[in-house]
Symmetry: C2
Subunit: 357 residues, 2 copies
């Protein structure tokens, strides 16, 4: 029996994607060769990466708007560095960051090596359980950086401030999950391992016109323009991760794209948060208006129920429900590939606890 | 029918590795979850990366000698940067490089951003078809860098100069293929996609005592010490690539380790070079004494035979035999997983051409 996989990432992927990827490892494209045994410059793989690139632009509604799509390595953690390296001016560089959690904090730490940083607001005072609002972004910064969804705390930015400069967003944990006007962002990056594919590749979507303006000498592997010039093939790309991402993007398109998945994601989140609010044994962790539709964090009001609850959900075939160590309690990650049936199973477990506790 | 895969990389992997990896994508470790859907911090995956790390030290005979093993992202191309960043002194940094081809040249280019470079010798004068000898390595450099095997030109360093300082080697295309005293190197790096696994992870084997001595502030993702402190889990590792590398290392150990595969690799290389030298229609590209046992480069003496030869080997089920664009002709890559039977098929094709041409 397949598990109900609520893991925070790496996380659930569509079963048909897993089956196709598994088959391609034995015989890819009818070549009598494995996907991972062929040259990345073979027409078969070039077609894969091209298709993935086009699917990204199509799904994000960014076609013909001056954006380039890259599939790099090194995770979003590398992008903390690359975004600053490629965008912060060499002379008097300055950037603004909104601090909404661990990942924002890490992004801030890396960017500080390149210039002056303005942390416009932080929700650290309440262990990042809300999204700060009503802050001022200095007008003279080279860019403004946000983190759209915070997996650990279960918060999500449901709106973004209007900033009339370069907007950078780490969308690792909610890209392709909801409709946004993506053209309001100049640089979007996302580790693949939530809604796009397996760990091992990182999506970068960048407006080409913002690049090349810092006056810095950038090492080749850290330079977006180098990767753009080589169509993400400056060095050997992570073939398997790119292929599996392409399959996942294709699955999403076939499903009806972001609008269709957003509807399902809203239903899943509503179902679970409704139960968290209704069930007297549980309390949600994050501020109601900032709740993430990807990661719902909640705790038991009475810690003594935890053994019983853990037994109930484990027996129901649920996996990956434990909260992050810095928050505790539970975290239900409801990424695109998680079905509403899995959320129903979780809700049933919560109700079973209510009856039995 | 499975192809005879002579691709230069990504390249052939053992069939049993492909089968196991394919199965793990559907159900890993009996968890009823895919390998790429579980947390990288789950005990099941932690066991994988631990095992891979130990296999590397065991196979290279480096256990208990102060080395750390990392599985990073970004290919050897990233290591061109990281090796210089982590080893070249901030004040008056200086390093020596032996230039034996495209990859050495790229390594040199990146390192120049960090200090003064001494190119001790280069074989560029003859399109890198030999390995320079009899050069002097300045004694005051922070490290000396070599490239052990040059895939494009088909050359290999069969001996290394004695240098009484820090020795760095890019072994991307011949690691795990031959016996060496690996303890003579302080930093070894290798993109996985030849003898270790699929594209998407890079092996770094580093003597811990050489780190932390530059006086530089290094961004987290570029700092070997950061990755060591987190057991290659500073950020989400490329789970699939690490797992498949572990399987390949396990396959090699079961086969008898490097000594056993070296014997087979010697047989394969001897068989092919013997035919290149014997067959009047072909000529080897690289200097005889520097011939690579991984990549044999050769050309037709009469270009007019190329259509017929291409037809013969393609019909025999051979794949990936075309030479790199900067050398032309043919390149037969004979990595660990290629069987001697595949080399016999190629030799037969060369003899068939001799009969038919």
């Amino acid at each position: 029996m397949k598990k109900h996989n609520f893991s925070a990432g790496p996380c659930i992927l569509p079963q048909e994607v897993l089956v196709k990827a598994s088959e391609a490892l034995i015989n890819f494209d009818g070549l009598d060769l494995s996907l991972i045994e062929i040259s990345h410059r073979s027409p078969n793989f070039v077609a894969v990466i091209e298709k993935a690139r086009h699917l990204v632009l199509e799904l994000l509604n960014l076609e013909g708007k001056g954006y380039q799509v890259l599939f790099l390595q090194g995770g979003a953690s590398s992008q903390f560095l690359l975004s600053a390296y490629n965008l912060m001016k060499d002379q008097n560089g300055k950037a603004a960051y909104l601090n909404t959690g661990t990942w924002s904090s890490k992004a801030i730490k890396e960017a500080k090596l390149f210039g002056e940083l303005a942390e416009v607001a932080s929700s650290k005072d309440k262990n990042f359980n809300y999204i700060p609002k009503d802050y001022i972004i200095p007008s003279d910064v080279d860019y403004f950086h946000t983190t759209s969804n915070n997996t650990i705390y279960g918060t999500q930015m449901h709106s973004f401030p209007e900033f009339n400069g370069i907007n950078v967003c780490d969308m690792s944990s909610d890209i392709f999950s909801r409709s946004l006007d993506f053209s309001k962002f100049d640089l979007i990056y996302a580790g693949a391992q939530k809604n796009m594919g397996p760990a091992g590749t990182t999506l970068v979507v960048v407006k080409e016109s913002i690049l090349g303006n810092t006056g810095r000498t950038i090492p080749s592997m850290l330079d977006y323009q180098v990767h753009i010039a080589k169509d993400s093939m400056f060095n050997t790309p992570p073939v398997f991760a790119v292929y599996t991402s392409m399959l996942t993007l294709e699955w999403l398109k076939d499903l009806g794209g972001i609008k269709a998945i957003e509807k399902i994601n809203n239903q899943k989140a509503q179902l679970l948060y409704q139960e968290i609010d209704r069930n007297p044994l549980f309390t949600g962790v994050s501020a109601t208006e900032d709740r993430s539709k990807m990661n719902a964090t909640f705790t038991l009001n009475n810690e003594s129920h935890s053994d019983l609850f853990d037994t109930i959900w484990e027996e129901a075939g649920i996996n990956g429900l434990n909260g992050h160590r810095s928050v505790g309690g539970y975290r239900a990650s409801m990424y695109n590939a998680l079905t509403i049936e899995s959320v129903e199973v979780l809700v049933n477990c919560m109700q079973e606890l209510e009856r039995k506790a």
